[in-house]
């Protein structure tokens, strides 16, 4: 019952994000969507993914969306259907759903992910890396170069974001710096 109820609530949240009036309301309902998505990760026993989803989806990206909303101007053009965009979205979703039909049954112990490398990691990760947590051992030790590239990409994105936000701040600052310093002193 819960396996039906919570994903259904998730779908309702996603549709509500699209059809609610105003971007600010969409951001608010999107943060609710992220929290419910995090519950679903916990239901699937992926606790670390759930904490990441809650922190990034509901926390940081909500605040970032509000910052973007306060720095930009937008015009509410009302509701109108964009038929080609709708067709592209529906066909991409259909292709992705068709792709999930080829996924193996994860509870089957004989599929490749459960027989190929996972038993090796479970047996040898403590001797080879000295990490107590197998997930941390795979992420930080076995996939060292992979994670290094990932960290570089994320750090570059963070720097770009800081530069963007600071740049707009400085431009506004020169315009009304007189007013601000006058009010402070």
């Amino acid at each position: 019952m819960i396996d039906i109820a919570i994903p259904l609530f998730l779908v309702v949240c996603g549709i509500a994000v699209l059809f609610v009036r105003g971007l600010f309301s969409s951001i608010m309902i999107f943060s609710v969507y992220s929290l419910v998505m995090a519950i679903e990760w916990v239901r699937l026993n992926a606790v670390d993914v759930a904490i990441t989803e809650a922190a990034v989806g509901a926390g940081i990206s909500t605040v970032l969306f509000i910052i973007i909303l306060s720095r930009t101007k937008y015009v509410d053009e009302g509701k109108h259907m964009n038929i080609p965009a709708l067709l592209v979205s529906v066909s991409v979703a259909a292709v992705l759903l068709y792709g999930t039909l080829d996924l193996p049954n994860l509870r089957d112990p004989n599929i490749a992910p459960n027989t190929h490398v996972t038993p090796y990691y479970l047996e040898h990760s403590y001797e080879e890396t000295g990490q107590l947590n197998v997930v941390a051992a795979i992420l930080a030790s076995y996939r060292g170069y992979d994670t290094l590239g990932e960290t570089t990409v994320v750090a570059t994105a963070g720097f770009c974001l800081i530069l963007l936000l600071r740049g707009s701040n400085r431009r506004q600052g020169t315009k009304d710096s007189q007013k601000r310093t006058g009010s402070r002193t």
Partner: protein, 88 residues
């Protein structure tokens, strides 16, 4: 027989649907902010009930505290945006 915790979770999800209706329709922005805060609370309660279903509530209490803090941060950001129109 349906599990007690499962029944409670489904009732809370139904209550959350009503609150989501108010968040979508809600005529004023304060209706929406209150609904989002309320839905965050409901999320934490559902999380704890799932923890009791899995027979390890001690782990899930830690995650629930993280969720409460994150939801609090988001609601603070909403309120500050509504109050002053900017976040910095």
């Amino acid at each position: 027989m349906v599990n007690m915790f499962e029944l409670a979770t489904i009732i809370i999800v139904l209550a959350a649907v009503l609150v989501l209706y108010r968040a979508v329709v809600g005529p004023f922005v304060f209706n929406r902010i209150l609904s989002v805060n309320f839905l965050g609370t409901k999320t934490v309660v559902i999380l704890l009930l799932v923890g009791f279903m899995y027979d390890r509530p001690d782990v899930f209490i830690d995650i629930a505290i993280v969720y409460v803090l994150i939801n609090f941060t988001a609601v603070l950001a909403f309120l500050k945006y509504v109050e002053s129109g900017r976040l910095d």
